[in-house]
């Protein structure tokens, strides 16, 4: 069973959830990232996601390891879609199970924030009047050393 996947096919949410079911978990949270039509008033037609697949899987695994270290008893599975996605299509599913519910929310949220920092996946937005590769940190963060800061990678 692969806990961390990059998928060219639509993501089966239930299949991701099934990977984290455990007898000592009382809570499972999932985060489902979907393609939103309007961003800052601009209408998206569709998206293309591309990934550096081998490294992306490694970085998802790293995020899972970070979570299991930080939240005792946590179990994690993440699948990220690549290719063309239309409005309301699912880009990512994160499932986290923990013994108690507060941890399931916190650990899940940590996962999505980390994905947006260190997992090599890019989206290209297509609008009626153009298209562009998006970068969350585009022109707002520079990496003078060529890699993210230690805090980003190891925290």
């Amino acid at each position: 069973m692969k806990l961390y996947e990059i998928s060219k096919e639509p993501i089966d949410i239930q299949a991701v959830i099934d990977k984290v079911v455990q007898r000592d978990a009382g809570a499972i949270t999932t985060f489902i990232g979907t393609v939103r039509e309007l961003t800052k008033g601009k209408k998206t037609l569709f998206l293309i996601y591309d990934a550096y697949e081998a490294m992306a899987v490694k970085k998802l695994e790293q995020i899972g390891d970070e979570i299991e270290e930080r939240w005792s008893g946590a179990s994690v599975a993440i699948t990220h879609r690549v290719g063309r996605l239309d409005i309301t299509d699912i880009a990512v599913v994160i499932a986290v199970s923990t013994p108690h519910r507060a941890d399931a929310y916190d650990a899940n949220r940590y996962a999505i924030e980390r994905i947006k920092e260190i997992v090599p996946i890019w989206k290209k937005e297509h609008w009626e009047d153009g298209e562009e590769w998006m970068g969350n940190q585009l022109e707002t963060v520079a990496y003078p050393t060529g890699k993210p800061e230690a805090g980003d990678l190891d925290e």
């Binding site: 591309d50 490694k58 999505i112 997992v119 022109e139």
Partner: protein, 77 residues
């Protein structure tokens, strides 16, 4: 030789998914500068680098056979 991978807007700028380059002995920064001279690579100060699928510093030295990837700011999720 080294395989150098490009993604997102860098791939559009280079016009190829990857190049085969002799980069052994060079630092990441040197390779970046060299490729920037040949191609119009925008916003390289925001681009991270990976060697063999792990983030690497600008001063890391490349070995023969290493797979290099230039990682623009990511936008998954």
């Amino acid at each position: 030789m080294n395989k150098v991978l490009f993604f997102a807007h860098l791939r559009d700028a280079v016009g190829a998914e990857s190049l085969s380059v002799a980069a052994a002995g060079k630092t990441v920064a040197e390779l970046k500068a060299e490729l920037s001279a040949q191609y119009d690579l925008p916003r390289m100060e925001t681009v991270m680098t990976a060697i063999n699928e792990e983030f690497a510093s600008n001063d890391e030295v490349i070995s023969d056979g290493d797979e290099i990837a230039f990682i623009p700011p990511v936008s998954g999720g």
